[in-house]
């Protein structure tokens, strides 16, 4: 079995009127199972485009992408939805919880689209919430939770379907320092203890510091890819 993520020569070209925007210009990348990767880059560097493609929300203009041995570079929208549902857990900067819907129901969402029974949905959601330290908050609404707690609900939602990879897009962008540390410690712990593959997209060096591998993207290309020792994640 090869690496979890293999992509070769990914290109993404947009057309904005007459202007051609090359968001990605030949990115090749391999990520093994159990890695904790940080993708760093300024805004407009192409890191979000890369994450959208790796997250199967978007397809490359050119190049191949295998996720867990499946060629997902050329799949249709329903097949991609299926892949997202089973293989990928998303964490967004602005949490993206569904308002006026309880924490548990937010977490259940991927299972709901998988067609799981209601009982299974509830049990797994409760377990996922417990893993991020929110046991007992199942029936709280997003508005009743702090930013850090909301992001942990989002992590639980990403975890609940036992995905192959967790993709976090600026997960601490809307959080204070304390909550940011909290979230990163949680992600590091999940990576360390459960062997979950985690990829964090960020522009902050101290967030990237939690990762064991740092990929720097600039102008649609990878300019640096190095392994390093992560900061010691205490309290995880």
């Amino acid at each position: 079995m090869g690496a979890l993520i293999v992509c070769t020569d990914l290109w993404k070209i947009y057309r904005l009127g007459d202007v051609e925007v090359q968001a990605l210009r030949g990115v090749s990348l391999e990520i093994e199972r159990g890695e904790f990767v940080a993708v760093i880059g300024a805004s407009g560097s192409g890191k979000s485009t890369l994450m959208n493609i790796l997250g199967c929300l978007d397809t490359p203009t050119r190049g191949r992408y295998w996720l867990d041995g499946q060629d997902v570079g050329s799949m249709g929208s329903d097949a991609l939805a299926e892949i997202r549902n089973r293989e990928i857990g998303f964490i967004f900067q602005n949490f993206n919880l569904i308002p006026r819907t309880s924490a548990s129901e937010n977490v259940q969402l991927p299972l709901f689209y998988r067609g799981a029974s209601l009982r299974e949905q509830r049990t797994l959601a409760a377990a996922a919430l417990a893993r991020v330290g929110l046991a007992g908050r199942e029936h709280h609404y997003p508005a009743q939770l702090s930013g850090g707690q909301q992001q942990r609900v989002a992590i639980a939602r990403a975890l609940v379907s036992f995905p192959a990879i967790l993709l976090a897009d600026e997960p601490t962008g809307n959080l204070d320092t304390e909550s940011s540390r909290d979230i990163m410690v949680t992600l590091a712990r999940l990576n360390r203890e459960d062997g979950l593959t985690v990829m964090v997209v960020t522009h902050e060096a101290d967030i990237a510091a939690y990762a064991a591998r740092e990929i720097v993207v600039k102008d649609g290309q990878i300019v640096s890819d190095r392994r390093k020792a992560p900061v010691h994640a205490r309290g995880g």
Binding site: S77, A81, E82, R100, L109, G115
Partner: protein, 411 residues
Amino acid sequence: MGAFILLTVLTAFRVLSRNRLRAGLTMLGIIIGVGAVIAMVSIGEGAKAAVRAQVASMGTNVIIILPGTTTVGGVRGGQGGAVTLTVADALDLKKKIPLLTETAWAKRDVMQIVYGNKNWNGPVNGVSPGYLTIRDWSYTSGGPITQADLDTAARVALIGQTVVENLYEVGEEPVGSTIRIKNVSFKVVGVLAPKGQSAQGSDQDDILFIPFTTAERKVLGTQFLGSVGALFAATDRPEDLPEAVTAVREVLRARHRLQPDQPDDFTIRTQVDIGRVQEGTGQTLTLMMFAVASISLLVGGIGIMNILLVSVTERTREIGVRMAVGAKRRHILIQFLIEAMTLSLFGGVLGIVFGILGARATTVVAGWPTIISVRSILVAFLFSLAVGLFFGLYPANKAARLNPIEALRYE
């Protein structure tokens, strides 16, 4: 998929109950449309049933044959202007057409009826006994005119309720009393049970029957003995009417020695024909109401579409999230379709309730008969479902076609 639908319905309920005022206003068009359909159809059905009952009261298996027109020197007489039908015609019809269970004949005129010191102008009908059977008259007291009365030209009379009310004191028993018509005294032998208004709106109880023979000889007079004002025939079953009508026409044409190029000198009518005209009027009214209600439903549907488009825009991010965690296009499509149908169905059910209440109120306030048909409820229900489906399709499709990346980024 079952669990998915169920949970989506629950979600739809929750989403809609979050904004009750908006949902209520959106449903208003459907409520009014469905309510109007239910109420109007029930009023229409009630009217139709009333007509049908009246037609039935006159006999749905009855053929009426009226004398035709005559043309004398280019001057055309009106219907009944000629005396072309006779008692012999009636007897011959009975003999030659086995389908006919009974034939009868009658003639009438409005005359003064006198009892004691009171009088009343009412239609005096000379009839053969069969007429009473064909028209299905029954008696509150006394009994019918018999064949013996006809044979002997007996001076006996049957009177209707309206005549009783106008000539007798309350509680006075008419049977056995003597009334006078054109200075001929008649013994009242029976009082007719009330029939109410006819389909044409005339009072069927304002009536007096005497034997046909008595009428032509002593009261109404005649051009020649045996000429009648109208013939009546009855079949066993209403289904046999068309066949019987054809047979009657053939027999009469032969008896009257009409050449193939000559028109009938009589007119055949059935109660079904008369009822059909009345029902047709009701039907037109119902159709018009239905058209108005349909427009209301259309407007209601557009309201649903409008509010759903707003909802899709408001919830763009939510749609993006749902797609990101694995919702396929059809999941999103179904979610919004179910929301639309929940709105329209809920509106439909409320409309049905209001429609039934409206119909009841019409009966109580205006005294019109109404019939709430299960069919109209079913149709209204399905119609509102269809409205939701149809008008939900565009917004739902719009939601399902969103690009997940752009939806997630939507502010």
